[in-house]
Every structure is written in structure tokens, then in C-alpha cells.
């Protein structure tokens, strides 16, 4: 990577954010201007050799802890690169995701964590000019290959977005939507699935009497739990959570975090968050990304308490970012 790309990487980072209106508004002003030739002056640069190398566009080796490698992996990401047009957003990500665990992606805004998450179920395909290199393997089957049916691939995952996005239909229909589109119309099956996933999403007691009412009448936190119920109704192999709490108040956030704990017993969860405490609270493993590269990846306890890199330590403790 040569240096003009480096200065381009910031606007391109914004492009990354644009399609789903992620992150916007939730970022403190000072982290939106990380580089620009280093005149921001807020961060002393000498202390972070790896970050500096990344800013210069140099390839760095990510620190992946042995603890991760020992796990059984549901998803293998290998040498994965992604470009939005000419701007590269992800640089050779190597990242195994442990089965039945909660893995958190952290990092400053524009670091590509949402892009990486959306690459897993190929939602990025919808954006003009996206192309990828490298591979992802979900349960032994490639995600990026010519003969992959994207629709079938997405059916194997569930996804929850930053902003709660229930469909403008009844609560019941929202939950069973993934089953409906698969042609399931038997009432008994749908009823059972609806109840099961609403219970799993810890919202059953609140909505069981008004399943036929519009989902848009629920509060934000309830809507997000409804979206989680929708995401898990078809038993996904991986559950992708893209900053699920960033649009919620602290109480609702707490409930969602509890919920993530509960469902992690049954599902593999990949969660993007910019809230370090949240990552620490809910995840088993944490990956720290910066400007499209994976910097350090290990168990949450290690990353937050004994990180091998000073950059990671300063980031998780809020001294850098």
C-alpha cells in the first residue's frame, strides 16, 4: 500500500459507513479525524508502532492468541480483502470464529468491523462496486464461491441491525417472516416457532397478548428484541449482531446484553460494538480492528486485561481511539 491510499482511507471509511447509516452520530467528534497527515495532534504517535504502520498503509501481522486457535471454528475468514470501488476497506483479515461463543468486533469508527460482519452474509453484495478477495468458510462450505446461492447462504444466518427494523406488520408476522418466505404456512409450526423464539428473545411475556398488533407500536428495546427473535426463529448457524444496542437506552441495552448471554448458549454470535464495556460484558472473544485490519484477537479476558499490544490496551481503556 502506498501512502496516497492512506489519506484516501478515511473518506473511504465514511463510504463504508454510508450504506446502512451505521455509526453515524454515535461517535465522539475527536475520533472522526484520526489521520489527515497527523495534524490532529490529539494522539501521541510514537507510542503505537503498529497503528502508525497501519496508517502508513503497511501490512502488519495481527496478533491472534492461541486460545482462539484451539476452539472449534464455525467460521473461517482467510486472507479476506474487500474493496468499495477503488478504496480498500478490509485488508487480509485472518480470523477464525469459535462455535457456540460470543465474538465481539471492536475498534474505532470506520475500522471495517461492520463491513466484515456484513461480508459474512454477503449483504455487501448489494452495494455497487464491491469486490472481494480471500475466502470465508462457514461450517465447511465456502461463502464466496461462484456456485453459492446467496439467498440460501443468508438463510443459514440471522442478522440484527444497529437500528431496530421490524417490518410494518404484526408482531407475529415479523417473527415468522423467515419461515414464511421459505413457504411454511402451517399454522401450528409457525405458532410454535413464534413462541419459542419470542421466549428465547425474552420478550414473550410482554407481547404474547398482542401478537396481532403492529410491531411498530413497540418500544425501541422491545423492537430490537423482536428483531433478535426474528433472527433466531429459523435456527441460524451464526447470529450476526451489528451494534444492536447503539440506538437503545441503558436499560434496554442491559436487557439485550442479558439476552445475548442467554442465546449464546445455543448460537454462535458475532457482535460488532463500539462500546468496550459491552464487549467485555457479553463476549467470550474480542477482536480489535483498526483501519480495515485485524490488530489483536483473543479471549475477552486477555484482550481487556492482558493485551499483548500497547495499542489494544490503550484503546480498551479509552486512552486512544
Amino acid at each position: 500500500m502506498v501512502s496516497p491510499v492512506e489519506s484516501n482511507s478515511v473518506p473511504s471509511g465514511r463510504v463504508m459507513i454510508r450504506p446502512m447509516a451505521q455509526d453515524r452520530g454515535s461517535i465522539p467528534a475527536r475520533v472522526t479525524m484520526p489521520a489527515s497527515g497527523g495534524d490532529g495532534g490529539a494522539t501521541p504517535q510514537v507510542r503505537y508502532p503498529i497503528i502508525d504502520a497501519i496508517r502508513r498503509g503497511e501490512a502488519v501481522e495481527s496478533r491472534t492468541h492461541e486460545s482462539v486457535k484451539l476452539e472449534d471454528h464455525v467460521l473461517q475468514i482467510r486472507q479476506f480483502c474487500l474493496w468499495y470501488g477503488a478504496a480498500q476497506a478490509l485488508h487480509s483479515i485472518d480470523m477464525p470464529v469459535a462455535r457456540g461463543r460470543v465474538t465481539a468486533l471492536i475498534g474505532p469508527s470506520g475500522c471495517g468491523k461492520s463491513t466484515l460482519l456484513r461480508s459474512v452474509n454477503r449483504l455487501n453484495d448489494l452495494i455497487d462496486g464491491v469486490h472481494v478477495k480471500g475466502e470465508m468458510i462457514l461450517n465447511g462450505r465456502p461463502v464466496y464461491a461462484h456456485d453459492v446461492d446467496v439467498i440460501d447462504l443468508r438463510k443459514r444466518m440471522g442478522m440484527v441491525f444497529q437500528k431496530p427494523n421490524p417490518f410494518p406488520m404484526s408482531i407475529y408476522e415479523n417473527v415468522v417472516y423467515p419461515l414464511r418466505i421459505d413457504g411454511e404456512n402451517r399454522r401450528s409450526v409457525l405458532d410454535a416457532a413464534c413462541e419459542r423464539s419470542l421466549k428465547a428473545a425474552a420478550i414473550w411475556d410482554e407481547v404474547k397478548d398482542r401478537l396481532s398488533q403492529s410491531a411498530l407500536g413497540l418500544s425501541g428495546g422491545q423492537q430490537q428484541r423482536l428483531c433478535i427473535a426474528r433472527a433466531i426463529v429459523a435456527d441460524p448457524e451464526v447470529l450476526l449482531l451489528d451494534e444492536p444496542c447503539s440506538a437503545l437506552d441503558p436499560v434496554a441495552t442491559l436487557r439485550i446484553e442479558d439476552l445475548i448471554h442467554e442465546i449464546s448458549e445455543r448460537y454462535t454470535v458475532l457482535i460488532v460494538t463500539h462500546n468496550m464495556q459491552q464487549a467485555a460484558r457479553v463476549s467470550d472473544y474480542t477482536a480489535f480492528m483498526y483501519l480495515g485490519r485485524l490488530v489483536e484477537y483473543g479471549s475477552t479476558a486477555d484482550i481487556f486485561q492482558r493485551p499483548t499490544l500497547e495499542e489494544t490496551e490503550d484503546y480498551v481503556s479509552g486512552r486512544f481511539g
Partner: protein, 957 residues
């Protein structure tokens, strides 16, 4: 770029003082204020303008529904009693009264003074009957010796200067009228009105009668007489004491050098034969078309005589009808135009009876006498009916001394119960300029009213209800704002125009809505963004095509083209969508890696190619289907080739009546219902020809245009049964129903089986199912068509029918093109504005783009799409130029796709330039505008209500 450091925010938050330094400048306030004022004024003006237009429209329309505005004029007694016949001048200043003896009195209507007297009798004879035609002023006088005389009886007005009037008039005050008594040569004298200091209006009777001429047959005095004129022709009917009826063509020659004109009578034989047990009738009338006589008895019995040609054939009785089931006639008069009889009865009713042309119910000449309308006034006996000379407004006087004004055509009662006298009204008439009424009592009183008639020919009933117009077989909605003759009835029913507007809109929407909405869904949800950036503005540009251009393209290019390639056009409605579906199924057969390599632009190009290919297929399949389906049957070919025999009268179906010629529709009915044919004025049956005759027929028909297979000849009713039409009409609905049934009940089970199959096998199975569905559609349509045909129904009676080049199909297509861009643009915007996060959520859940579009995007965008459709609806309803140019503008009320129509907007556009300001026609056109406005208003309000309902569902998004 400089950034605000954290410190800036902090200092602003902390310091009150730093905020107070930020003062808004004064001119900013001023601009703000000014803008506020300007915007409110502008908004207010817009509201005022819109309301103003509405108020203006209503103000122009309201006078249509007002009755007459009646003001009392002069009233007095005069020395002239028992008037039988009255004439009034144009200024309501003078009147001529004729009593039963033929004594004429000229009366000054200002004070009732009789100016002079004269007589209509000739020397040594007494007047025994008289009749005057108000529109021409011609009178016919019957005398006691059996002779008649005709002539003119009018009051003529002349404006003269001060020097030309006699001294007697010099003392009249300005604005008043006086009399000039007869003197010397001036046997009548005059009524003189002083218009100004120097100008006088002299009103003099014009009594110009010919020499009496003897009637040839019968004996005794003439007891009843009636006269009509037609151009310069004059004809009369007279009945003598012995009951003999004479019809005479009258010619009056004026001797050179002046003197009394000579009356020449050429009689036409009347083969009078009164109904059983009847002696001579009480009234005789001759119709305005000069070839019918009506003999009327007091109890309502009416006998009609007809001579098809008065110069050659005698009058023969053709029909006897009882016009009055109960009560008896007290007075009768012929309405203006001479085709409607007005009958007043003892109990206060006026009946209007006329000869209705009705081939089915009519007698041997295809017409019969009917009572089209009955109007009840007070319960008093009707004693006089005064017919106007300009329009059909009639003044009626009754035995209680009341006068009523009404229009028998529009049923409008303009004024009723005007109290005139204590006793009965002996004679009454509308003033010649229709600005007043004059009534006379038997006892020698008179009364004059000034009347603003308003618009007698227009009423709520005539605008929106069925009216039985003179000569028509039944009450109907007719719009015919101008007539060939002044005396004709003017027909202002808006119903055909509203119907035309609805028809235009419905067909345009049928064409435009599916295309526009589907195109919008395609562009917003499936089309590649780069292609979309080109396609959307291109379609939007179509909206800027002036509709007049579309109109003349429709009229000059499309209409003749559709006429020439009708089979292909009809076929392409089926083939093009089918071609697309087949292509979609074929697409499934291609392995996915191969399809993924095809660029989006190429995909679009392929779709165009498929559409073009389908059109090409339709161009050959259409004529082929035409040859196979729309051809004469074997029997029809026999008859066309001359192999037939006439049927006996007993087999002639009753509904044919006595028709001598049949319209194509009636011939079709005869064929389809009775299996008979109509050839050379006779009902015939096909006869199977011998083998060599068959070959001969084939040979002779080979070059016969009317025997060649053609959908247009079929539509016109030239040949063929109803089956092919039903088949054509059924395919669409049957395909829809079957595909719904298929997806609801068959699809799921089928798809579950498909799951276990190979991709290619599954696709093949799908395709096979699709082909099966097409075959089933055709089969079911054919079956339904056969069922409907055997039930005796023919689509040519409803949505099909005779073919006109400028027809609804053409307008539907072209007007569809006019509304497609607007529906497309707004729908596309609505679809594009559906939040992307909903699409992501759906796609993330594993839905296909189509599932996402149908289940998520479409319901959310429904309110927007609905608005788009409604705006398109409004545009189609108000569209003018296309319909003016491409519809033929006939105000029919048939759903026939191959016929034109007339819309409200087209009527306004075409007729407003020629409608005199303030006339009924003018106001009716304004009413058209108001009705159009009301229609779109109701539509838009309903639409808005529905839209709000849709929107509430997704309000929280």
C-alpha cells in the same frame, strides 16, 4: 479544514455571555417577517383563486335550475269574449282575439280597449272551425258551407319616426301605449307605443287570407281543421259535419296586381274507417312530417293514418291507441314541430303523446303512438294549452282560472298556479319572444305577465335522468346539444358524457396501471443502478409530451394502424406477457454460474429482444387465429353463396315485427337466436347445396370481401356466432383465476416435491407445469365460451360490438401512454423511499429480492403507489386533447371496446367556442366542468382516505 476543538463546545455551553453576543441582525428579522407576509398572502391568494373558480362555476350553473321569474303585468276587462284563438305581438302590447264566429278584435293590452274589429269569414259564410300554427302564424279557417281558407294572422310591429304617426298618437307619453283608431283605408287601426320622444312602435294586425276553396268530399260545415307548414308547403286536414276527413295540399297563388290570394287544394285520398262503434272524432291533426293524420276522440282514443307518400298514396288507418286509460280530454294542441300532441284532461293533467319509432313494439310501419310524459297540475280541468313559437315551453290554463308554465320535454315546471281570473282560462299563450304569458278568460278579461323563462329545456331530470324524447322507442339518456331544426328537442343528458369519461379512464387505467407500477417495481428493486439512472429520466421525459401530439398520433397513426393489424394487436396482449413468462422459465434452465456472468445491460437488452420476438410472433399468430376463429360458418357461406329458401311467416320470430330492413345487429340476433338469415328483405333459411353448387359457392366467395375471415366483419355482426368473442374475452380472467388457484393450492405441494430434485429437473418440471397451466387456461376458456354462447349471450352486445377506427382500444393505449410516466415516477419514488434497512432485514433473513419487493417494499410503498394511481386517474379523467382527437366523440353508452365515446372534457373543449354566453348550452358546459370537478374531487377524497389508511400502517417507520 479546521476542526472545532473540544474547547469551543465547552466554552459555548458554559458561558451565557458568549451566547448573548450572537445577536440576530435587524435585516434578518425584516426579511423573515417579509417572507412570512409574502408567503401568507400568496397562500391566501391561491385559496381565493381556487374558491373563486368554484364559486364562478356554481354561479354560472345555478340559473339552469331556477324556475321562471314571473312579474305581474297589466290586467283589465275588455269588450271581447269567448276567445277561441289568440295572437299576441312581440312586445305584449296588443293582442288579437278570434271568437267562435271568426270575429277578430284588436285589443290594447295596456287598458283593454278594443281598437277595431273584423272577421275571418268571407261573404255569406260563417266560420265554424279554425286553427293556427304558432311558429309560422298561418291560419286555416273552416266555413259553414264546407269550404276552407288559409292565410296569415299576425300582429306586425314597425318602428317609425314622429312624423309618420297619426296625430292621435302624438299625445302618448314616453314608455306608454295608446291606440290609433281605424280610419279610411286603415281598417284595423293600431296600437302605438312611444319608445322615446321621437320614436314610436306601431303594432298592426296582418290579416291576409286567401279565397275560400271548396272541399271535394263530404257534406256540411267544416267542424274541425288543422294546418301545418313545412318550408313553403302547406297542408291541412279538415273534417266535415258528416264525419268525412279530407287531407289537402294547399297552394296559395297571389294574383298579379294584388287582390285576395287564390287557394288551390289538391286532395289526398283518406280511407277513413273509424274504430268500431265510433262516430266522428272530436279533433283532427296533421303531423309536422305531413304524412300522418291523427284523429282524436274525447275519451283518449286516437286513430293514426299513414300515407308513405302523400303525392301518390292514400292515407290508410294504421293504428288505434288509447292514449288516456281514464278521464277524458278537455283540450288538445299540437306541440311545436308537429310531432307531439299535448292533451289536457278533466282532472288537471297534460299528457304528451307522440309517435315512437320502435321496430319491435311498433305496428306495421315500425312505429306506434305512446304517451311519453304526463304532468299533473292542480285538479282543475285543463281548458287551454298555448304552444310557443320558439321553443317547447307550453302555457296551460285551467278551469279554476290558474295558469301554469312547463316544458314537456325536460318536465320542468317553470311557474305554476298563477292566479289569473275567477272563472276558467279560455285561451293562453306564451308571448312570441318567450318573455311573457298572456291569458284570456271567457268573460272578457285578460292578464299579462312578464316572465324570465330562464332555461326551460334544462332540469335535473333532463340532465341526469332518462327522458322519453319525441320519436324514440323508450326513455333514454341522450346528449345532443345542437339539432338540425329549431323545433327539435335539445337533449342535454350528461349521463353519456359521464359514462364516456368513466369509460376512457377505466380503459386507460387498465392499460397504464399494470405497466407503470410493474415498471416502477422493476426499476426500483431489480434494475441495475447504472441502467436505472438512464431509464428513469427517459420515462419521465415521456410526461412532457404534449397530449395534443399524442392525440394526433393516436388519430392519424395509431388508429389506422390498429384497424389494419387488429388481430396482431389483440394477440400481442396475450403473447407478449406469455413470452416474458416463457423466457423467465427458460432462464431457470440455464445453470446459475452462466446467468451470473451476464451483464445487467445485456439482461435488459435480452428482455427487449424477447418483447420484440413476442410481437413478431403475435404478428403471425394473430392473423392465423383470425383465420381459424373469426370466419363465416358453413351455413353462412351457403346463404352468402345464394343457397337459401324463404321461411313462412309463421316461423318469422315475433320480435322482428314488421321490419323490412334489419340492422347488422338485428341480423346477428336473427342468426344467433333463431338460426335464420335475412337476405333481400326476407327471412330465409340456409339450404345445403349440392356438391357442385358447393364448389361454385366456394369459387364465388373466394373473391368476396365480406366472406373472408376477418375479426372486424365479425365484430360488425357480419357473420359468426358468439363463441370466438367469448374465447377471446375469457382467456385473461381465466388465466388470472387459474394462476391464483395454482399458487394457493397446487404450488406448495408441488414445490415440496421439487426440493428433492436436481436443479435442472426441477426447472423442467416447473416449465412443464407452466405449459400445462397454459393448456388448462385455453381449455377452460373454450369451455366457458361454449357455455356462455349456448346461454344465448353474445359479447357483441356488451364489451364488443361494431368496429370504429377511432375506438376505445386506441384511446386506452395512447392515454395509457400519457399517464404511465406520472404513475411510474411517483410509484418509483414511493418504492425508492422505503427505508433500505427494511430491505436489508428481509434480505438478511434469506428472502429473495422478489419476496422482499412483494412482502416488504410493496406494502410499505402502497400508499405512495395508490397516490400515483389516483393522480394518474385524475389526469386520465380530465384528459382532453387525446379523447377529442381519437374517439370520434359520439355520446354513446356502450362498453364496446371497439367504439368511441364522448367525455365531459372533450365536450367542453369542442362546444364551448360555439355556445352563446349565458345560453343554456353554455351553462350546461359549465355544469360539465362542475361535474368533472365533483368526480375528481370525490375520487381524490376517497383516495386520500384510503391512502391515509395505508399510511397509518407504516407511520412509525
Amino acid at each position: 479544514m479546521r476542526t472545532l476543538g473540544p474547547g469551543v463546545w465547552a466554552s459555548m455551553g458554559e458561558s451565557e455571555q458568549s451566547l448573548s453576543r450572537r445577536a440576530t441582525r435587524r435585516h434578518v428579522h425584516a426579511i423573515d417577517h417579509l417572507a412570512g407576509v409574502l408567503i401568507s398572502v400568496g397562500g391566501f391568494l391561491v385559496i381565493v383563486a381556487v374558491l373563486g373558480i368554484c364559486v364562478y362555476l356554481v354561479a354560472e350553473v345555478v340559473p339552469l335550475f331556477r324556475g321562471a321569474d314571473v312579474r305581474e303585468g297589466s290586467a283589465a276587462s275588455m269588450d271581447a269574449k269567448y276567445p277561441r284563438l289568440v295572437v299576441c305581438d312581440e312586445y305584449k302590447r296588443s293582442a288579437m282575439l278570434v271568437d267562435a264566429q271568426g270575429v277578430v278584435s284588436l285589443v290594447n293590452l295596456g287598458d283593454g280597449r278594443v281598437v277595431s274589429r273584423g272577421t275571418l269569414a268571407s261573404e255569406g259564410r260563417r266560420v265554424t272551425a279554425m286553427s293556427r300554427e304558432s311558429s309560422s302564424g298561418r291560419v286555416a279557417i273552416g266555413l259553414d258551407d264546407g269550404s276552407v281558407r288559409t292565410g296569415e294572422l299576425q300582429i306586425e310591429g314597425e318602428t317609425v319616426g314622429k312624423d309618420e304617426v297619426s296625430a292621435a298618437a302624438a299625445s302618448i307619453e314616453v314608455g306608454k301605449a295608446g291606440i290609433v283608431p281605424p280610419s279610411g283605408d286603415d281598417v284595423w287601426g293600431a296600437v302605438v307605443e312611444r319608445i322615446s320622444e321621437t320614436q314610436y312602435r306601431v303594432l298592426k294586425p296582418k290579416v291576409d287570407l286567401g279565397e275560400p276553396a271548396e272541399l271535394d268530399n263530404g257534406t256540411g260545415a267544416v267542424v274541425s281543421i288543422d294546418l301545418r307548414t313545412r318550408g313553403s308547403d302547406e297542408f291541412l286536414v279538415a273534417m266535415r259535419e258528416d264525419g268525412s276527413v279530407s287531407y289537402e295540399l294547399v297552394s296559395v297563388t297571389r294574383p298579379l296586381g294584388g287582390g285576395t290570394p287564390k287557394t288551390m287544394l289538391s286532395p289526398v285520398d283518406v280511407k277513413a274507417a273509424y274504430p268500431e262503434g265510433r262516430s266522428k272524432p272530436d279533433w283532427v291533426f296533421v303531423s309536422g312530417d305531413q304524412n300522418q293524420l291523427l284523429l282524436l276522440w274525447r275519451d283518449g282514443l286516437c286513430q293514426r293514418y299513414l300515407s308513405t307518400n302523400v303525392y301518390e298514396k292514400p292515407f290508410e288507418p294504421i293504428e288505434t291507441a288509447d292514449l288516456l286509460p281514464e278521464g277524458s280530454i278537455s283540450t288538445a294542441a299540437m306541440q311545436l314541430g308537429g310531432l307531439t300532441l299535448l292533451l289536457g284532461d278533466e282532472s288537471g293533467n297534460v299528457h304528451s303523446a307522440f309517435i315512437a319509432v320502435d321496430p319491435i313494439k311498433g305496428v306495421s310501419d315500425g312505429a306506434h303512438l305512446v304517451v311519453g310524459y304526463r304532468h299533473h297540475f292542480d285538479d282543475a280541468k285543463i281548458t287551454s294549452i298555448g304552444v310557443g313559437n320558439r321553443d317547447r315551453t307550453v302555457v296551460v290554463g285551467d278551469a279554476a282560472g290558474k295558469v301554469h308554465v312547463f316544458n314537456p320535454t325536460s318536465h320542468k315546471e317553470l311557474a305554476s298556479g298563477l292566479a289569473a281570473f275567477e272563472g276558467e282560462v279560455a285561451a293562453t299563450l306564451p308571448a312570441p319572444k318567450l318573455d311573457g304569458i298572456v291569458a284570456f278568460s271567457a268573460a272578457g278579461q285578460y292578464r299579462v305577465w312578464s316572465v324570465e323563462m330562464g332555461h326551460p329545456e334544462v332540469s335535473v331530470r333532463s340532465l341526469f335522468g332518462k327522458l322519453w324524447y319525441e320519436g324514440t322507442p323508450e326513455p333514454s339518456y341522450v346528449y345532443q346539444s345542437s339539432a338540425g331544426e329549431d323545433t327539435s328537442e335539445i337533449k342535454y343528458s350528461l349521463v353519456p358524457l359521464v359514462f364516456g369519461t368513466i369509460k376512457a379512464t377505466v380503459f386507460a387505467m387498465l392499460f397504464a396501471v399494470p405497466l407503470a407500477v410493474l415498471a416502477a417495481i422493476y426499476t426500483s428493486e431489480f434494475m441495475d443502478k447504472h441502467v436505472r439512472r438512464v431509464v428513469k429520466p427517459t420515462i419521465e421525459m415521456m410526461a412532457s409530451l404534449p397530449s395534443v401530439v399524442l392525440g394526433f398520433v393516436a388519430a392519424i397513426v395509431v388508429a389506422p394502424l390498429v384497424r389494419d393489424i387488429l388481430p396482431m394487436v389483440l394477440m400481442s396482449f396475450f403473447v407478449v406477457p406469455l413470452g416474458m413468462l416463457v423466457a423467465a422459465y427458460a432462464w431457470q434452465l440455464i445453470p446459475p454460474p452462466a446467468t451470473r456472468k451476464i451483464r445487467p445491460g445485456l439482461k435488459l437488452a435480452m428482455m427487449f429482444m424477447i418483447a420484440a420476438g413476442s410481437m413478431a410472433l403475435a404478428s403471425s399468430a394473430g392473423p392465423a387465429a383470425e383465420r381459424a376463429m373469426f370466419r363465416p360458418s358453413e351455413r353462412e357461406r351457403w346463404v352468402m353463396g345464394g343457397s337459401y329458401e324463404p321461411v313462412v311467416d309463421a316461423e318469422r320470430p315475433a320480435w322482428l315485427g314488421n321490419l323490412r330492413s334489419l340492422s347488422p345487429e338485428q341480423q346477428r340476433r336473427l342468426r344467433v337466436e333463431n338460426g335464420l338469415f335475412f337476405q333481400d328483405g326476407k327471412v330465409v333459411r340456409a339450404v345445403e347445396p349440392s356438391a357442385e353448387k358447393k364448389a361454385e359457392i366456394d369459387l364465388s366467395l373466394a373473391s368476396n370481401e365480406s366472406a373472408a375471415p376477418s375479426i372486424r366483419t365479425w365484430l360488425d355482426g357480419g357473420f359468426g356466432g358468439p363463441w370466438p368473442g367469448w374465447m377471446l374475452a375469457m382467456i385473461g380472467p381465466v388465466a388470472m383465476v387459474l394462476s391464483v388457484i395454482n399458487s394457493k393450492y397446487v404450488s406448495r405441494a408441488f414445490h415440496e416435491k421439487l426440493l428433492h430434485l436436481q436443479r435442472l429437473t426441477a426447472a423442467l418440471a416447473e416449465t412443464a407445469r407452466f405449459v400445462l397451466l397454459i393448456v388448462a387456461t385455453l381449455g377452460v376458456s373454450a369451455g366457458l365460451a361454449a357455455l356462455l354462447s349456448s346461454a344465448g349471450l353474445d359479447p357483441r352486445d356488451s364489451f364488443f360490438g361494431s368496429f370504429n377506427q377511432r375506438n376505445t382500444l386506441v384511446v386506452g393505449i395512447i392515454m395509457g401512454f400519457a399517464v404511465i410516466p406520472i404513475i411510474y415516477t411517483i410509484s418509483e419514488d414511493a418504492l425508492s423511499s422505503v427505508p433500505d434497512m427494511l430491505r436489508s432485514a428481509s434480505l438478511g433473513a434469506g428472502a429473495t429480492p422478489w419476496q422482499t419487493a412483494v412482502r416488504i417494499v410493496l406494502p410499505v410503498a402502497a400508499s405512495g403507489i395508490f397516490s400515483a394511481v389516483m393522480i394518474g386517474f385524475g389526469r386520465a379523467a380530465g384528459e382532453t386533447m387525446i379523447v377529442v382527437m381519437a374517439t370520434g366523440n359520439t355520446a354513446t353508452m356502450k362498453w364496446n371496446v371497439f367504439e368511441g365515446f364522448r367525455t365531459l372534457s372533450a365536450t367542453i373543449a369542442v362546444e364551448l367556442p360555439e355556445a352563446p354566453v349565458g345560453s343554456a348550452h353554455f351553462r350546461v358546459l359549465f355544469l360539465c366542468g362542475l361535474v368533472l370537478f365533483a368526480m375528481t374531487f370525490v375520487l381524490n377524497t376517497t383516495a386520500e382516505a384510503v391512502r391515509q389508511h395505508f399510511r397509518r400502517r407504516s407511520a412509525a417507520l
